[in-house]
Amino acid sequence: MRREIPLAITFITSLIIIVSFFIPHAPFGTMQEISLKWYAIIAGFTMLLGVDSLIHMHSQKIKRKKSGWVYSVVLIVGFAVFVVAGTISGFRYGTAMDINSSFMYLYNYVIIPLQSTMFALLSFFIASAAYRAFRARNLDATLLLITAVIVMIGRVPIGNQIWHNFPAIAEWIMAIPQMAAKRGILIGISLGYIAVSLRIMLGIERSYLS
């Protein structure tokens, strides 16, 4: 019964959602609305679960002094600072998101610079990786290289300065061959998605039960 009940719940719920797509009227439409609200509530609780798991994992790391435990201290302190700032701002301004709140101050001067910097570093590594990896070793690599160069130059203003047709060629590559390949991949992924979903609904795929 431990396995049968969750499988039955999965099957019945998914059937309701599918049927309600085709029959939006009561009772299916109402059942779908209720299911969607439950989903949203559970999604909120999973965030709490995620936070609890994160704190627990890093607390254990600190307790056992595993490699890199100092960074776990930084994480927990950072977490605590933001929780305190958010709580104080919530009481003072009615919301932590007020422009003048300490929470937003921390967000603007800690989170934004840190996250932006992390992403910005990618440009350096991409430049270095492109230099090392883009070698015309065979026909496929040469075609990739030529296409990449055309798109890289065509998608920036300097491409238009070099030759006025560069942007149009780059746009053609994006809109036709690239789009065609992407659509093929998208359809493949969607078919795989449908297959996996059917397997889960019918109880063939049970890995989510652990």
Binding site: E33, A40, I111, S128, A130, F134, R135, P157, M174, M179
Partner: protein
């Protein structure tokens, strides 16, 4: 090591240094280049520009500070366009870290527009009357489907906790049918969810503003008409600024990006020259 071996194996620190110089110089000296306009961006701009005053537009802010340099300029330019055209933007957020960004830009652009409007003797914009931000709620896809019926099922209040019914502009707004357009600013896959559920089930017109990395994924939707416009990366933002005749951060940033792209192409060419000559020598 001869010269060709050297150019095949340039120290990465030299590459990093040159990339840094290529980025910094145009930004320091505020060098601007002419921005050519692409068809997908033009379609997006015209779709918003041809809306009549008082029309509601839903803007989904789904990015975090990592994607802010590319998407925030799009968002700010779009807000300015909405205020100038008298449109009523309603912001919704699907990424928790995107909420402060959406509030920050919304407040900045409202202040800037009101400064210009006061000078020109036009009406200023007021929160709750001309624009609002209903904030973030967990739920993702469930929420996207749910607000197709009634927004208040998931968003009873705005980001400040003010009930939606207390906001004058939200009194008669209930679902996608009340919006002319959904403008999605995406750093991830929420845009695809909007296409699959909001557009496919409820028929709302969608425009994407995406990071340069994600923009190629949206071309199938553009070609099929599931989205009616696409802004890709900083270039898309710069094109939108050019169409609005308000060049800003994105326009300046494209000069830096141009120089870096040319630098990368030069390094690729150098690497290949070194590789081919080195390979010829190794074979002989």
């Amino acid at each position: 090591m001869n010269i060709f071996e050297r150019i095949e194996k340039i120290d990465r620190r030299i590459i990093f240094l040159l990339v840094a110089i290529a980025v910094l110089l145009p930004l320091i000296f505020k060098v601007r280049m002419e921005i050519p306009i692409s068809e997908p961006v033009k379609k997006a701009f015209v779709s918003v520009d041809t809306l009549s005053s008082g029309t509601y537009i839903l803007i989904s802010v789904d990015y975090d500070p990592a994607s802010m340099p590319e998407l925030q300029p799009m968002y700010k330019t779009l807000l300015m366009q909405c205020f100038e055209k008298g449109l009523k933007p309603v912001m919704i957020v699907q990424w928790p870290l995107g909420l402060p960004l959406s509030i920050k830009a919304m407040s900045e652009m409202a202040v800037e527009y009101n400064r210009i409007a006061s000078k020109e003797g036009k009406d200023t914009v007021v929160y709750g009357v001309d624009y609002c931000n209903i904030g973030y709620r967990p739920g993702g896809v469930a929420q996207i489907v749910g607000i197709g019926k009634e927004i208040r099922d998931y968003f009873e209040s705005d980001y400040k906790g003010t009930p939606l019914d207390s906001l004058p502009m939200m009194k008669d707004i209930h679902n996608y049918d009340n919006f002319a357009l959904l403008f999605c600013l995406e750093a991830g896959s929420m845009g695809e969810m909007y296409v699959q559920y909001a557009n496919a089930r409820f028929g709302i017109k969608i425009i994407f503003g995406m990071t340069a990395v994600s923009a190629p994924d949206a071309y199938p939707y553009l070609q099929s008409g599931q989205i009616i416009g696409l802004l890709g990366g900083l270039q898309g933002a710069a094109e939108y600024e050019t169409l609005m005749k308000k060049p800003g951060f994105a326009t300046m940033g494209m000069t830096a990006q141009s120089w870096v792209h040319v630098l990368i192409v030069l390094f690729i060419l150098l690497g290949n020259i070194g590789y081919f000559i080195g390979r010829k020598k190794r074979r002989s």
